[in-house]
Amino acid sequence: MSDTHAESVAYVRETFVGEQPPPAQETGALIWLRKNLFSNWFYSILTLLALYVIYVLLSGFLPWLLGGVWDASSIRECREIAGEGAAGGCFAVLSERWNQLLFGFSYPSEAYWRPTLALVLLAVAAAPVLFPKVPRALLIVTLIYPFAAYYLIWGGTILISVMALLGVIVGYIVYSRLVDRGFALGFFAGVAAAIIVWQIGGFIAAAAPNVLALTEIPSRDMGGFMLNLILGVVCVSLSLPIGIVLALGRQSSLPIIKWICVVFIEFIRGVPLITLLFVANVVLAYFLPPGTNFDLILRVIIMITMFASAYIAEVIRGGLAALPRGQYEGAESLGLDYAQSMRLIILPQALKISIPGIVNVAVGLFKDTTLVSIISMFDLVGMIRGPILASQDWNGVYWELYGFAAFLFFIVCYGISQYSQWLERQLATDHR
C-alpha cells in the first residue's frame, strides 16, 4: 500500500476479516425453537397442545409395543406371562398365526415357498418397469413373470403356462408382421393367432397333465395377505390397458363408441365396490352359460378389474384433456393415422401426466381388496375377523391383529406413493 494518502485516511485495513459465525440471534437450537414453535402466544399454545397429544399417544403405544409378549399359545397364557395389569400387547398371536395371516388357513404349508418365490420374482419383474436405470434385459423376466407366477401359485403342469406364453409370442409376431398394413388388421390378426395357439396348447396341456407338475392348489385355498397382493397386482395390471381403451373411447368422435364408454364408466363409478362384489358373489353366475363353474376368485378379479379400469379411464382422460390441442394437430399434420398418432405422440405424453393419478387409483384399489372379506373370502382382514378372532385361543386380541394389518398396508401404500413422487420428479421435463 502506497502512503500517498496516508495523512488523509485515519485507518486502512490491510487483511481480510476471517469468517464470523452468524449472529447469536439467528441460529442455534433455541432460536429454531423460538422461530418454529414459540413465535407468538397462539403458536405456543398449539405447540404445548401438540406435545400433550404426542405424549398421550406415545405413553399408551410404547409400553404396549415394547412390553409385548411374543411367545405364548393363547391369550390366557399371554396374560399369565405378562402379569396382572400389564400394559404390554399380546403379539404372540402374530408369531403363532404368522402363516395363516400371510397365506390363509388352507394353503398347504409345504407349498409356502411357491408364493414366496413368486413375490421375490415380482420384485425382479417389476424393477425394469419401475426404475429406468435397471438393465432393459430384465424386461424378459417381466414378460415371463405372469405365466411363471400362475404356475408357481396355482400349480398344475408347466405346459399351461408355456402354451399361454407361446400364444402371446405368436400373437405378437403376427401383429408386428401385419401392423404396417394397418393397426386394426395387425391387432385382430394377432389376437386370432394367439387364440388358435391357446386352443391347440389347451389340448396339449390336457393330454399331458404331469409334465413338471406342481401340486395343484384350488383358488379357494388362497388367503391371507397373499390374496390381497394377488388381487391388487392382477387387477391393476389388467385394468391399465382396459382403462386406456375406455379413455380413448370416451374421447372418441364416434358417438356410439363414446356413449358405450360413458355409460360403462359412469355406471361403475356410481356404485360402491361392495355392490360389484355382491354381483361377483351371487349374481354373475346367472349371466354365464349353464354349467360353467367359475371360481369365486376369478369372478372377483373380473369385477375389481372393471371397477379399477373405470377409475383409471377417468384419470387418463384427464391426461388426454390436459394435452395442448397442437399435439393432436401436429400428429395429424405429419400424416399419422389415429392408431399411430395415439401410440407415438398422444399416449406417451398423456400417460406421463396421468402417473400420479394412476398411482392413487392403484393404492386405493389395493386398499379396497380388503373388501372381499365382506363376501366371506379369507384375505388378511377376513382371516383376522374370521378364523383367528373367532378361535377360542385368540378371542379378544383386537389391537395386535388390526395393528399388524394396518402396518402391512401402510408399508405397501406409503411405499408406492413415495415411489410415485420420486417418479414424478424423474419425469419432470419442464424447467421450473
Binding site: 414453535l37 398449539l46 397429544v53 355392490t275 355382491f278 354381483v279 353366475a285 373388501l371 375377523r385 401404500c413
Partner: protein, 410 residues
C-alpha cells in the same frame, strides 16, 4: 379431364373396400361393428340369464318387497317392526345411509379443513403431527379403520346402570354430562325433542328467518354496490334467529324430554339413544375422509399465489377481507370439486356399515333381505340403482357449481 377430379363421380363409384379404407366411412363401420358386438353380448348374457332362471325355477319379480321382513333393525328413524315389509326395511336402510353420509360429510369437512390448514402452519410440530395423521389414514384401508374404531367404540362406555339413581336413593357411579348426555355401552343417550301442537308454525318461523337473513344480505350488497356504503352485518343473525325464538316462546310447542335415570332400576328411560354402530361408522368415515379432504384443502390454499395476497393488501383491504374476497373464492374453486367427490366417496364407503352392524341399505336390502328371500338379482339391482341415483345427483350438483364458479372467459 374434369370427370376424373370431380368428387361427385368418385362418390358414385362406391366400393366395398371403402368401408375400411376411406376415413369418411371407416368411423361408421367401426361403430356398426361395436353396436352389433354389444347387442350380441347383451343378448348372449340375457339368454343365459333366462335359461339359468328357468333351470333354477326362479322368476324375476319384485313381489317379495311386499312380504313381511321378519327381522329387527336396531336403528330405525321411521316406525319399523319385524312385521313390516321388505320395502319398508329397505327404506329404513336408505334413511340410515343418508343419515350417516350427511353427518359424516359435515364432520369430515370440519376435521379436514382444520387438518389441512394446520398442516400449512408455520408451527413445525403441529404441521408434522397433521402430516402423520393424513398419511396414517390415507395409507390404511377404510375397512380396517372402521373395524378398529368400531372395536374402540364397542368396548368403551359404562353400563347404563352406572348412571341410575334408583329413584334418588343411590348416588350414581357416573354423572350425566349437564344432566342430559351419557355415553354407555348401549349407545349415546341425549335429550329427545318432542313436537307439540303448533310445531309447524315454529318451522315456518325458522324458514322465514332464513329467507329474511338472505334478503338482508342481498340488500347489504346492493347498497354497497350502489352507494359504496357498507351496512353492518350483525342484523343478519338477529333476523335469522329472532322469529323462531319468538314463535317458540309464544307457542312453546317444542319441548325436550331428558333421559330419565330415576324411574327404572335397570336402564335409562326416555331421551334419544344414538346407537353404537352409528357412532362407530360415523367417526371412522369422518376421520378417514377428513385425511383426504385435508390434502385437498392444502392443495387449494397452495394454489392461490402469494401475489394475490400482496395485491389485495396493496389495494388497502383489511386481512379479513383479503381472506374473504380474494383468497377464499380462488381457493374454493380448486377445493370444491375434489371435496364433493370426497363426499361421494364417503357415501359409497358407508356401504361398509355391515362390518360394524349398522343397518344401512347394503346391510338391510343387500344383506338380510337378500339372504332371506334369495332374490339376489333383484336386490343387487335395486341397491346399485340407489347408489347410482345418489352419485348422479351429486355429480349434477357439482356440474352446476363448476359452471357457476368457472372463470368467465370472453
Amino acid at each position: 379431364m374434369a370427370s376424373i377430379s370431380d368428387p361427385q363421380s368418385q362418390q358414385d363409384s362406391f366400393r366395398l373396400s371403402m368401408l375400411l379404407n376411406d376415413t369418411r366411412y371407416r368411423g361408421l363401420t367401426f361403430q356398426f361393428i361395436a353396436l352389433i358386438l354389444i347387442i350380441f353380448v347383451m343378448a348372449y348374457l340375457g339368454m343365459n340369464l333366462v335359461s339359468n332362471l328357468a333351470t333354477a325355477g326362479l322368476t324375476f319379480s319384485y313381489d317379495f318387497l311386499g312380504d313381511p321382513a321378519g327381522y329387527d333393525i336396531n336403528q330405525a328413524l321411521i316406525s319399523y317392526t319385524s312385521q313390516s315389509t321388505h320395502l319398508r326395511a329397505a327404506f329404513v336402510g336408505v334413511i340410515n345411509t343418508l343419515l350417516v353420509a350427511l353427518f359424516g360429510c359435515i364432520t369430515a369437512t370440519i376435521i379436514g379443513v382444520t387438518a389441512g390448514v394446520l398442516r400449512l402452519s408455520k408451527n413445525w410440530l403441529v404441521a408434522k403431527l397433521m402430516a402423520v395423521y393424513v398419511e396414517a389414514f390415507r395409507n390404511v384401508p377404510v375397512l380396517i379403520w372402521i373395524l378398529i374404531i368400531g372395536t374402540i367404540v364397542t368396548i368403551s362406555g359404562a353400563n347404563p346402570r352406572a348412571f341410575l339413581t334408583r329413584g334418588g336413593s343411590v348416588e350414581p357411579e357416573s354423572e350425566m354430562l349437564f344432566g342430559a348426555f351419557a355415553f354407555t355401552n348401549r349407545g349415546f343417550y341425549s335429550p329427545a325433542v318432542n313436537l307439540g301442537p303448533g310445531w309447524i308454525i315454529v318451522l315456518l318461523a325458522l324458514i322465514a328467518g332464513i329467507v329474511g337473513a338472505l334478503l338482508w344480505r342481498r340488500h347489504m350488497r346492493k347498497t354497497l354496490y350502489a352507494s359504496g356504503k357498507l351496512l353492518p352485518g350483525w342484523p343478519t343473525w338477529i333476523i335469522l334467529i329472532a322469529p323462531v325464538v319468538i314463535a317458540q316462546l309464544v307457542l312453546g310447542s317444542l319441548s325436550l324430554s331428558m333421559p330419565d335415570v330415576e324411574s327404572n332400576n335397570f336402564n335409562i328411560q326416555g331421551g334419544t339413544v344414538i346407537g353404537k354402530p352409528f357412532i362407530a361408522l360415523w367417526l371412522a368415515l369422518s376421520v378417514y375422509t377428513g385425511a383426504f379432504i385435508a390434502e385437498n384443502v392444502r392443495a387449494g390454499i397452495l394454489a392461490v399465489s402469494k401475489g394475490q395476497t400482496e395485491a389485495a393488501a396493496a389495494l388497502g383491504l383489511r386481512p379479513r377481507r383479503v381472506m374473504n374476497l380474494v383468497i377464499l373464492p380462488q381457493a374454493l374453486r380448486v377445493i370444491i370439486p375434489p371435496l364433493i367427490s370426497q363426499y361421494l366417496n364417503l357415501t359409497k364407503n358407508s356401504s361398509l356399515a355391515i362390518a360394524v352392524g349398522y343397518a344401512d341399505i347394503t346391510a338391510t336390502l343387500g344383506g338380510i333381505t337378500l339372504n332371506q328371500t334369495g332374490k339376489a338379482l333383484e336386490c343387487v339391482l335395486l341397491l346399485m340403482l340407489f347408489y347410482l341415483i345418489i352419485s348422479l345427483a351429486i355429480s349434477a350438483i357439482m356440474n352446476v357449481y363448476n359452471a357457476s364458479v368457472a372463470l368467465k372467459e370472453r
